[in-house]
């Protein structure tokens, strides 16, 4: 096994005129959990489909588990496990039959296969329902069986494409726990796409932010957040009002302030020590003739990172988890 589980250089994919993925460079270390964060249509799933050998890149190259995804696709396939977003299974088979089929397609059979099925069924905590038809499963159960199929052959690299989209908070927490456990106990490299900031934040060792088919920021969640500033002061204002430019200039001149920006009736101030500046900030607003309708002092989130690198927030109305699936 190479030191890097996934490497991509200038990876790109166009569909006709539409450049779904423009250029993505990745270096995911073995045993790392890498979070690929971005809104719908950013190019997350297209990137995953290229790395999983389902889609041929139209530009650049990539290796997974040390093998080229185009030239050595069969070698890659032997070493990866994939849970795609749709969690598609055959409704007319039982969960166990789906797992048996999956195992045989990886050349596993006999007692090794039954042993592994017992293990993965245990792991994803399906219990007796494994002998029911997939058609009777809830969405959450389908995802669990799908994850079990992805783990059956003990892959080196696991791709999880939006594993918690559409799940309730309790199921989501459970998936997070499983992902951590897989990584910790088995050392599996996990490449996870998500549109949930919190998910990337709590799960990933490193996060790559993709927007418009380009990787726009990458780093550990801590480093990414630190890049925005130690503290953020956010005031709701009327962005159309006259004094906004004046206020920005004045605030930018305050000590400790590193950045000032205005988006959607909010003025956001990045500052080394929020508590020390908040009073002067309000005075500056008042002097410019602005009234703060609300004032927030907090540490940055990945959404703030997203805002800084893309110019818009990932979450709609600032509420986590409300993004349409």
């Amino acid at each position: 096994m190479s030191d890097f589980a996934i490497r991509a250089k200038g990876l790109a994919r166009s569909f006709g005129e539409n450049q779904a993925v423009k250029s993505v460079d990745l270096d995911v270390a073995t045993s790392e959990i890498y979070g690929f964060l971005g809104p719908n249509g950013a190019g997350k799933s297209t990137t995953v489909r290229m790395l999983c050998t389902l889609l041929r890149p139209t530009g650049g190259s990539a290796t997974v588990a040390g093998f080229d995804v185009v030239d050595d696709a069969d070698e890659v396939r032997l070493r990866i496990g994939v849970a795609l977003q749709e969690a598609s299974l055959d409704e007319k088979q039982t969960g166990r039959e789906v797992l048996e089929l999956q195992g045989r397609m990886y050349g596993i059979s006999g007692s090794v296969l039954s042993q592994r099925i017992t293990e993965v069924v245990d792991f994803v905590d399906i219990g007796g329902a494994i002998d029911d038809f997939v058609g009777t499963y809830s969405g959450g159960m389908k995802r669990r069986v799908d994850l079990a199929t992805a783990l059956l052959h003990e892959p080196e690299v696991l791709f999880l494409d939006e594993p918690t989209t559409g799940l309730d908070p309790a199921s989501r927490a459970k998936v997070w726990e499983e992902v951590r456990r897989l990584n910790r106990e088995l050392g599996i490299t996990i490449f996870l796409t998500t549109q949930y900031l919190e998910e990337a934040d709590v799960l990933a060792d490193r996060v790559g932010i993709i927007d418009g088919g380009l990787l726009v920021a990458e780093g550990t969640p801590v480093d990414l957040k630190r890049s925005v500033g130690a503290d953020l002061i956010i005031a709701s204002i009327d962005a159309e009002a006259e004094g906004v430019d004046q206020a920005c200039t004045d605030v930018r001149n305050l000590p400790l302030v590193t950045d000032v920006s205005v988006h959607d009736d909010e003025i956001t101030v990045s500052v080394a020590d929020g508590a020390a500046v908040v009073n002067d900030f309000v005075v500056a607003l008042n002097n410019a003739g602005l009234r703060a309708e609300s004032l927030t002092l907090r540490t940055p989130t990945l959404d703030d990172v997203f805002l800084q690198v893309t110019g818009q927030r990932l979450t709609v109305g600032g509420s986590e988890g409300e993004v349409a699936a």
Binding site: Y106, G107, E154, E156
Partner: protein, 259 residues
Amino acid sequence: MSLAQPSGFFRDLVTVARRAVRTLPREPEAIIPAMLIPMFFFAVNIGALQDVAEGQAPGFDFKAFQLPVAIIFAVTGVSRANTIVTDIQSGYLDKMLITPVRRSALLLGMMVADIVLVFALSSLVTIVGFIVGVRFETGILGVLAFLAMASAWGLAFTGFPYAVALRTGNPAAVNSAFLIFFPFAFLTSAFVPLEALTSWLRTVARYNPVTYLLGALRALITEGWVAADILKGLGAIGGVGLITFTLAFTALGRRVKTG
């Protein structure tokens, strides 16, 4: 280290076939019409035409003449093409394509289930033929040859719906493709012998492979081991199979191409 290892072609085929065969009895909604339609036509054709046909030519056994037609109705167009469409639409095909399974096995495995089903349907129709008094000139071996040819024809024809399924991924298109069954089954010597057809239909029927298949199946029942008839029947099966399989595997190649 991964447990996975490359598996042989035959094992891949068995793996895929196992799923397809297992699903057969779970889809009675697909099988029951395929059982009833040939019985219906067998009964109606005999009821309507037996007296006329046998009155025209004394000694002519119209039931024996119609049994191969019922077989054609039973096996032509039976396929798992709708399963492939469902797999394409649900994303399950993608899930299988991520595994190292051989791509050709994904299609051939389905066809194994088709053979099982068309053999069962042909056997059923043949048993009904026995019940109404049809006897084989060629004996038990002839019955087996008859069933084998019927199954081979069913298989040869499946390539067509599979090609449509893989090309379009659209269930409506697969259902429409069934329409090709009508010229194949009706523009032939299905109801009266070739010589008795009006001239335009006789011309069309001469180019219809089903005419030669019917000729071979009828020979096995009423004539005996007539090599010329049987070889023409096998040729018809082979020719149709070559065309539909070429279409189906070309479509498979395009579908699994990662571009």
